[in-house]
Symmetry: C2
Subunit: 221 residues, 2 copies
């Protein structure tokens, strides 16, 4: 069996957010899909360890935004590589409120879909929420970001808590700059590449995307 | 509410096939995704009216192939616009048998994944099968076909039984040939465009992709 076969599955990239009245959760996923047209229903899967999962469970609703190709690694890092338990992911960006009071950002978004949870399915490490769409809106005409684009162009990595994570395997190709007078360090956690003239990263260096220290960086040239 | 917001969701294209010992079913879907990494589990959704759905239910296993960009409309039509109850979809193409005895074709495929059904979820018009992966193999290095590519390049349509069908709406752009000395007729069912010097289609004309007659074609120039 070759688990790498799973790398040819195609996905989009989405932000799931929810507000249960006490807590706000938001995170990045690639596993969202329309499952029926009448009624309009959407399925999403979330890792049970995610703070957002507990907030969606308590709120019984969530809002999904379709991430556009305009999103950069700091935006991806904000929603994908940090925990809502530690930081306010909507701080410093335009924030709107959906019909069911979930916060969401129209920045780097193609569309938003607001859903009421109608079914919850235990998948072991993950949980699937089936949501009935209560509101939907096109936010921009930008092209949706696909997971393949995220891997190939942004050089992003699959975090261990993602549905499509396979241990020891990553579809990310190594970054090989064409002409590099400077040194490049690649974050092992989120894939961010830092360029510097220094031979080593300083001890107090922190990844601008996911926040880890220099011990999590690999020098790639 | 603008249901067209759902058009920005990204999908791949997959063939689901199963053999329950008495019947063989195979059909094209866009709703397949990995839902957990350990154990490796995959979710698919199928319309209850599909013959393949009954075969998967009876077999309690299915095989999924990831369709590659090399697939043409006749291949798409074979699996997407006909019923396994009427035709043998594997006739005339290379056919292999998976670990759980489902037929599948390595033609126009990137990968195959063979799954045992571990959970069945009723979604109303559709049913979701959660399968645990028993075998997986990379079949070719071709690029996976995305649903966006199918719509934009192959000019394919979303059949009414698909999860992502929205009544009266279709993300397909009309086909406008740059220079057309001939006449073009577009199939309302599958989107196939037929080129001819005739002003009208003969009464015995049948769509080479989905098999419908001239009453289902619209002259587009």
């Amino acid at each position: 069996m070759d688990a790498k076969a799973m790398f040819s599955f195609s996905y989009g990239l989405y932000v799931v957010s929810a507000n249960d009245g006490e807590n706000v959760g938001a995170c990045l996923i690639n596993t969202a899909l329309q499952v029926t047209g009448d009624p309009l229903q959407v399925a999403i899967t979330l890792n049970k360890q995610n703070h957002t999962t507990q907030v969606v469970k308590a709120a019984e609703h969530f809002t999904l935004t379709v991430v556009s190709k305009t999103a950069d690694m700091p935006f991806i890092g904000r929603f994908g590589f940090k925990s809502s338990a530690d930081v306010d992911k909507f701080e410093g960006i335009t924030t709107k409120t959906s019909l069911l009071f979930d916060p969401y950002t129209p920045e780097h978004a193609c569309a938003m879909v607001c859903c009421a949870v109608v079914n919850t399915i235990d998948l072991g490490t993950h949980v699937m929420f089936i949501g009935e769409v209560c509101d939907a809106e096109r936010v921009s005409d930008e092209e949706p970001m696909t997971y393949a684009y995220y891997h190939s162009v942004l050089k992003g990595k699959t975090p261990p808590k993602a549905s499509s994570y396979i241990e020891g395997e990553d579809p990310t190709k190594p970054v090989v700059p064409v002409s590099a007078p400077k040194h490049h360090f690649r974050c092992n956690i989120c894939g961010y590449v830092y360029e510097t003239t220094d031979e080593e990263l300083p001890a107090d260096f922190r990844c601008p995307v996911c926040g880890v220290g220099p011990e999590n960086f690999t020098k790639i040239d």
